[in-house]
Amino acid sequence: MDVQYEHLTKKFGAVTALDDFTLHVPDGDFLVLLGPSGCGKTTALRCLAGLEKPTSGIIRIGGKVVNRLQPRDRDVALVFQSYALYPQMTVGNNIMYPLRIRHIPKEERLRMAHDVARRLEIDALFDRRPNQLSGGQRQRVALARAIVRNPNVFLMDEPLSNLDARLRVNMRAELKHLQKTLGTTTVYVTHDQAEAMTMADRIAVMRDGRLEQVGTPDEIYFSPETVYVAGFVGSPAMNLLNVRVDSASRALVGDGFSLSATSVLEAHAVDETKHYILGVRPEHLTLSLEAHPGSIAGAVYAVEPMGNETLVYVKVGQSTLVARADAMLRAAVNTPCWLEIREDRLLLFDAETERRVPRR
């Protein structure tokens, strides 16, 4: 079933949590709502579940308007951040709870529950209580409870955020695989951009109750529409510099540097009178300890060896840029260095509107 948000607005008193939110989730898609705390992503999820009533706007599941339907009639399953396992019941009874409510006969219930438990490798825990389980196990029980009734839509509210880092990384792959196997439309809320990038078919970046941009991970990463999206996705974050255009020297001029950028200026419709923001990701900067024509001069500010690569922080004028460098590179602080930018990966944003200037 596909999901459609149409001009959804939700206010809590004076606070607007969602503002004219419109989004379509195709059937079978894994859509991630990504954004910082307070951006409205959880509110959007809860409105879909029926736990919040929208102030205005329409929500459709499979084309049908569900605004008036109670949560139990929407055929959605929600995995909570806190898992919300019923503490007084065993794992098995937790999983079977939604089936029990639907008066599915006991034998059938047990069979279905064991099937799902086996699939998530928690069958051995069937008779334990939630307080006897580890975080990862509890999360699987919450998942099992959601899967067992084969709903139309999975809703997940930051289900991995309470797990330790290693388990989180493992579960990301498992969740994605599970979703592909089941083929159920999934709406997933997170503030972790790594989770979004790795798991999503499409990402919807949100900010202050509004949708900033929606697209595939590639689109979000390589073609961000706004400065906000550009800075939010990717770690370390994209380098952003204030620049102006000097058409005489065919260069982008910024604080402490002048970058000759003929092809860039040809590819974009730019105006000399405007301020722009130059965006380039750390991996698209090449660090060199020797001067290069067409590169930006700076000084080493800090070096972070990561093992597989080294992150170098470079001071250019008043700004600090980050570049990914070879794993073996080491340099002393204040060493002069030069950064070369891959021109086809250079992005220009209008400093006033913060929107990307499209390529011609």
């Binding site: 029926g50 109670q70 929600l78 919300a84 503490p87 709870y97 409510i101």
Partner: protein, 283 residues
């Protein structure tokens, strides 16, 4: 040198602590002890001077006289029925009201007003309302009825049970009910199946407090009941103070029996009582 002085003051401190505790215990328990031994004393021994701390002869006459061929058993039954039913009703509505106050988003003004309204019922001295209630009951023919007494006692305890149940429901994470509602429950079934079992200790604690509140109630029982059909135990016991003499022995016998139900009930549920009392304390 120092360690010896430290030990010394420590011992004295502990001794004083225990002495004070013992003293308090004696002061609190002595009336009950006195009542129990009085119930076993014969008429003669009751009036000897100096009074005996332990009965010279243990006699069961008082019990015999008080219970056989008297209305006391009936009074006990009335108490049990009136207090029991009113506690149940109070718990039922109090839990629903407490749940609503805990879960539904009312405006802060409304919440403040409701809270004050609930507390205000405890601010009025009961005696102020007794005459109006008497007149109303007379018109509605509720005098000397179980229903009349139950209504009054529900009125006493309902603010209290609402207040306590609201606190206990707050302790249960909202997530659980929401999970149940998405799983397929209505709000009501989620309350019954998920929330209530988790508030069980609180429910028990509230029940006990509510019960104790009305078991000893005297004023309304005195005014609103007239015959042995509905007279409750506290009023019945006071009947031993007659025009001619005070039947200490029989009064004590009934008193001793009167505290037994509450004692048993509290002993049986004290485990839940402690949990219920401290549940709200640690988040």
């Amino acid at each position: 040198m120092d360690t010896r002085r430290f030990e010394w003051s420590n011992i004295i401190g502990t001794a004083i602590k225990y002495a004070v505790l013992l003293l308090i215990m004696v002061i609190v328990l002595f009336p009950i002890y006195w009542m129990v031994i009085t119930s076993f004393k014969g008429r003669l021994e009751l009036t000897t001077y100096p009074p005996t701390l332990f009965p010279k002869n243990i006699i069961l006459d008082n019990y015999r006289d008080a219970f056989s061929d008297s209305d006391i058993p009936r009074y006990m039954l009335n108490s049990v029925i009136v207090v029991g039913v009113s506690t149940l009703i109070s718990l039922f509505f109090g839990t629903l009201a407490g749940y609503s106050l805990a879960r539904f988003a009312f405006t802060p003004t409304f919440k403040r007003q409701i809270s004050f309204w609930i507390l205000s019922t405890r601010m009025i001295p009961p005696i102020v309302t007794i005459i109006p209630i008497f007149l109303i009951y007379r018109n509605l023919q509720l005098l000397n009825t179980y229903a009349g007494m139950i209504i009054v006692y529900v009125g006493f305890t309902l603010p209290f049970t609402t207040w306590m149940m609201r606190a206990f429901v707050r302790e249960v994470p909202v997530d659980l009910e929401e999970a149940a509602m998405v799983d397929g429950d209505t709000r009501l079934t989620a309350l019954l199946r998920i929330v209530l079992p988790l508030t069980a200790p609180g429910l028990v604690a509230t029940a006990i407090f509510s019960l104790i509140l009305v078991w000893n109630e005297f004023l309304f029982a005195l005014i609103l009941t007239t015959t042995s059909a509905t007279i409750t135990l506290p009023v019945g016991i006071s009947g031993f103070v007659s025009q001619f003499e005070v039947l200490w022995g029989q009064m004590s016998a009934v008193g001793t029996v009167a505290i037994i139900p509450i004692l048993i009930f509290t002993l049986a549920v004290q485990r839940y009582l402690v949990r219920g009392l401290t549940l709200g304390a640690v988040k």
